[in-house]
């Protein structure tokens, strides 16, 4: 149990630093407008153990979001979208529940549930997160086209990066 918390805290901090120090700098522009953003920080929330208390999820998402917003100069936008993702996470985990239910200390990663489960879990959550993030960023569905393009392109690159990190860092918890 202690190990789980330590791993999660370290992962939380590392993902935050990686997002702020590395992935924030990388934006590719396509046709004059930057559509490609790397958004990998939701992984910190998504990889927490299945039975993590909701309050812990939401509060850690809120803190992560607010700290990201300090670096992105966008007060509340990351926080709002990440809190939403943290909230929706459990619903999606319940939706993807395998036949033999979840154990108390199950960690939603490739090792526990297999690649197929992990891909569908991460892609659904990440897509929702990125879509919500860009919607809040634009704040109006007049910009639906931009939101749509941003979501699609950012989702593809972020998802690839997340998969690669999962193959490189095979954590137990």
């Amino acid at each position: 149990m202690n190990n789980t918390i330590t791993t999660n805290v370290i992962r939380y901090i590392l993902l935050f630093l990686a997002q702020v120090l590395i992935f924030k700098q990388i934006t590719f522009s396509l046709g004059g407008i930057a559509y490609i953003h790397f958004i990998i920080y939701p992984l910190a929330i998504l990889l927490m153990p299945v039975k993590t208390p909701k309050a812990v999820l939401l509060l850690s998402a809120f803190i992560m979001g607010l700290s990201l917003d300090m670096f992105y100069d966008s007060v509340g936008i990351h926080a709002a979208s990440l809190v939403f993702t943290a909230y929706i996470r459990n619903i999606i985990i319940a939706f993807l529940e395998p036949f033999d239910s979840y154990n108390t200390d199950d960690v939603p990663n490739i090792k526990t549930f297999g690649l197929g489960w992990f891909i569908s879990y991460i892609s659904i959550c990440l897509l929702i997160h990125i879509f919500v993030y860009f919607s809040i960023d634009a704040f109006s569905y007049v910009y639906f086209f931009e939101i749509f393009l941003n979501t699609i392109f950012s989702f593809i690159v972020s998802f690839l990066v997340i998969l690669i990190t999962q193959f490189i860092f095979r954590t137990k918890y």
Partner: protein, 274 residues
């Protein structure tokens, strides 16, 4: 009290979620300018679209008014172009503002183009100063016809697409002049006759009015030479001119008023009578 605690235990996650989201959104709206603007004027994006559509429709209703004013503006511009053509002939001491030609803008009520002898009807008549034997042009580039009859409110124009059309024309920056006739049934092409074959011409030359008649001032562009040939035993070129204007779809025209036209014809008639 127990119930309230029970509620929090049961739905704590959801309540926390809602509270956190409310905090986030209040932060977003208070500290981000773009989002604040959209939030405060959320209707603005929508209202702007509605207003845009509205102005488009309203714009449409004033189209004819704007068209009229543009026509008037155009007519003064063309008058100036014609005046420049004659600028070297202004008699010193005469009022320099006194132009020899002035234009009357008019819209076309009725027109034919596919007959052998075509006509136009203008929606302006003698009340606006239109008289028979006035030239009609569609712009500084393109002839329309010659006024034949006028009533109070309408004018009947013989189109240049008419078997009896003979308009004195010249070729820009070349010598000689000939007359423009309509031989084939093609509303885009006319024939320029009687340019002597010793003159040098080339395909692509601009055909302009010569100004020898009282109808059209000098220098109105008519069309471009598309091809030319000399028929055996003939002393002049047979030139096909492609017109600049498409008479099949014109809606507006300008009637040319020649202030000295009467004087010129009267003088020429006197000589004839002698």
């Amino acid at each position: 009290m127990y119930n309230v605690i029970q509620l929090f235990v049961k739905y704590g996650g959801h309540i926390l979620f809602v509270i956190l989201e409310i905090i986030c959104f209040s932060l977003i709206i208070n500290y981000n300018k773009a989002q604040k603007d959209i939030f405060l004027n959320s209707s603005n994006v929508l209202a702007a679209k509605v207003a845009e559509q509205e102005s488009k429709i309203l714009h449409f209703t004033t189209l004819s008014l704007q068209n009229d004013s543009l026509m008037r503006e155009n007519s003064t511009l063309i008058e100036n172009l014609i005046a420049i053509e004659y600028s070297s002939e202004i008699i010193p001491g005469a009022d320099s503002l006194y132009t020899r030609y002035s234009l009357i803008p008019a819209s076309i009520c009725n027109s034919t183009v596919h007959l052998r002898n075509n006509h136009f009807t203008l929606c302006k008549g003698s009340r606006e100063g239109i008289k028979p034997e006035m030239g009609v042009i569609s712009s500084h580039k393109g002839l329309v016809g010659i006024v034949r009859n006028v009533s109070d409110n309408f004018a009947h124009v013989m189109s240049i697409l008419h078997s009896q059309t003979r308009i004195s024309c010249a070729i820009k920056s070349r010598q000689g002049h000939g007359s423009l006739v309509w031989r084939d049934m093609d509303p885009l092409r006319m024939t320029l006759e009687a340019i002597p074959k010793h003159e040098k011409i080339a395909i692509g030359d601009t055909v302009i009015t010569s100004g020898y008649s009282t109808l059209f001032p000098r220098g109105i562009q008519v069309g471009k030479i598309e091809k030319f040939s000399v028929k055996p035993g003939n002393n002049s070129y047979d030139i096909t001119v492609r017109l600049f204007n498409d008479l099949t779809n014109i809606k507006y025209a300008y009637v040319i008023q020649n202030r000295f036209g009467d004087e010129q014809t009267k003088l020429e008639k006197e000589v004839d009578n002698e």
